[in-house]
Amino acid sequence: MTYFKTLTGMALGLALSASTALAGEIVLNSDQSDPAPKKAMEELIAGFEKANPDIKVKWNNFDHEGYKSAIRNFLTADAPDVAAWYAGNRMAPFVKAGLFEDVSDVWKDAGLDDQLKSAAASMTMDGKKWGVPYTYYQWGIYYNKDVYKKAGVTEPKNWAEFVANCEKFKAAGVDCVTTGNKGGWPAAGIFDYINMRTNGYEFHMDLTAGKVKWTDEKVKATFAEWAKIVPYMSANSNAIDWQDAAALLAQGKAANYVMGNFAVATFKQGGMTNDNLGFMIFPEITAGIPRAEEAPTDTFHIPSGAKNKADAKKFLAYVASPDAQTAMNGILGQLPVNNKATAADDPYIKAGFEELSSAYALAQFFDRDAPADMAKAGMDGFQEFIGKPESIDAILEKLQKVADKVYK
């Protein structure tokens, strides 16, 4: 109840603040509620106000989880001038409902088509650009070097070696792969990678876009590869949060964790250091398939109901600039999207920069590439698969049934 009151209070406050916005002021709604993102935003706003002394930024910072439902209300009821969101299919409902403004001109004027090339595809719908990306981060396998040493295992060069290593980890009494899948999305990361490595980026995109069936033989091949490591995954992973599984890796009870780079902070809190926390690119499964990677992108958009679109576009252009992205991502500990920006001096960020800049293509992540209801059903299916790998055919039938409705 208090939570609801806070929300209503916030909505009311927003309504008041937005209606009193002056010319030369932009209202910015975002969800950087954690310390590092919050500091990055403060820096960004300070930098923008310094570069544009006649424009003031009024920033409403939302709680990360609450923002996901709040955005639906404020976009329709009382739109800010700039709103934070995500690339790919996650922005599709808002674009289709006409709630985001076409910002292709910002891209054209600032030469972003070239500088933000790696994220251009995920910002484009119907041939137009709908926002500006400011950060992304890589996914991959984080591993405990001490555990590798203890089990006498070296970094695998391909999937067959990875699976073979699992047997050795088991002999050493260590979980080969850990994950905390209570939320459903960590396993989606594993699925994305195995599918992209088995069948390639195009097939993965066709699957999330509903162009191929879940009952396809190629999807079954993906799950057959996954089934090889299910027996070596941490037991009960469906019941624990991802942070609890991170503890297993830090304590040396597990060897590998397929995760996003944001988890590095959690691993280090668990006592790991640059010396024993290793990072590797997800190994190759089908030889010769061009390597695609996961790189979920965070973005800024201009709602179509914005009152001060001219200044909002200046803000977007500033966010896209190399300097702003270098500064912001230095604090975030993530990768700048602008290819003229400099990545921070950190081994994992450097590794991620190498990984993504040499990748054939970038996927957003299962729940951003697939429509919301398909993503939810898929993640349920992955949970079920981890619990009962033998019932994969029934799970895929179920997923196809959902897909028939979602993509009609």
């Binding site: 009960n236 624990i240 919301a372 619990g387």
Partner: protein
């Protein structure tokens, strides 16, 4: 103004109007927050709507889809399990109440302690039980491990997860039923108990023939709140399993939330259809009880 122009009207009808005036604030609230949303939900269930764009009228398609949705049957089945197992709270509450219905030093403290789980938030109850079941640091898997040799993580196994959540729900619900029975026990007529004693009634026959009939009003309330509590179960599922693993612990109310309001929910019409089904189920139970209650009152 009205009083000045027509003083006699108010005077004449004061007795008839006064109750309605006192009822008006409550009735207006009830209309706005209960009656209107019911009709709005029913109306919405005939549309396809993502909560943002335009609504499209699709007739009963949402209900047709619902009948073809495996998750719906899982949720319905789980609701049934909840309904049946939640009933255990009534005999359990009665047992605790009978046990605590004695006069020893400090009994009030024991009563408060037994009532405690009902006072703390369901979210806290959910967290306590989640940690209790947690693989690794929870105590229950260790207990299983000791006796059977295999640690069972209740919430990770789709066969047991729902029962694990219900067990957590039974803890506060038992406390609730206990307090209802405790107040009921205060009103037991000592004469009847005395008379029954003279007739050599004791133990089970005393409980069955003398105490329980006098507790009937308490039992009735306990039954109603338990049924409603079972059907509206939501917080515990949301905290303990997020509907998982693989959607195995969803109930209708959580399913509706997931479809309409969660991170991945954009199907407002579909969610409304689920809400209507849940409403219909509740309506059946509640009207059955109200009819029974009314007929009993008339006979009394």
């Amino acid at each position: 103004m009205e009083q000045k122009t027509q003083p006699s009207f108010w005077k004449k009808n004061q007795r008839a109007l006064a109750p309605w005036l006192f009822l008006a604030p409550g009735m207006i609230m009830f209309l706005i927050y209960v009656i209107y949303p019911i009709f709005e939900s029913v109306n919405l269930s005939f549309y396809e709507w993502d909560g943002l764009g335009a609504k499209t009228y699709i007739g009963v398609q949402n209900y047709v889809d619902l009948l073809d949705d495996d998750s719906f049957y899982t949720s319905l089945w789980n609701n049934l399990i909840w309904l049946l197992l939640y009933m255990l709270a009534i005999p359990a509450g009665l047992a605790v109440a009978l046990f605590l219905n004695q006069t020893v030093a400090g009994i009030r403290i024991y009563k408060s302690l037994f009532f405690f789980p009902f006072v703390i938030s369901q979210v806290v109850v959910g967290l306590i039980f989640t940690w209790f079941y947690a693989p690794g640091f929870g105590i229950l898997p260790h207990v299983f491990n000791f006796f059977t040799g295999t640690p069972i993580a209740i919430l990770a196994d789709e066969r047991y997860a729902t029962y694990g959540v219900i067990a957590a729900g039974l803890w506060p619900q038992t406390a609730y039923c206990m307090i209802l029975y405790l107040t009921g026990l205060n009103n037991i007529s000592p004469d009847q108990v005395e008379a029954a004693r003279m007739d050599k009634a004791k133990g089970w026959s005393m409980l069955w023939h003398i105490i329980l009939p006098q507790l009937r009003p308490a039992t009735f309330i306990a039954l109603v709140v338990t049924i409603i509590g079972a059907l509206r179960s939501f917080d515990l599922i949301s905290i303990m399993t997020v509907g998982g693993p693989g959607g195995a612990t969803r109930v209708l109310s959580y399913f509706m939330y997931e479809k309409s309001f969660s991170e991945y929910g954009f199907a407002m019409g579909y969610g409304a259809a689920i809400a209507v089904v849940l409403f219909a189920i509740m309506l059946v139970f509640i009207s059955l009880f109200i009819v029974r209650m009314l007929s009993q009152e008339r006979n009394a």
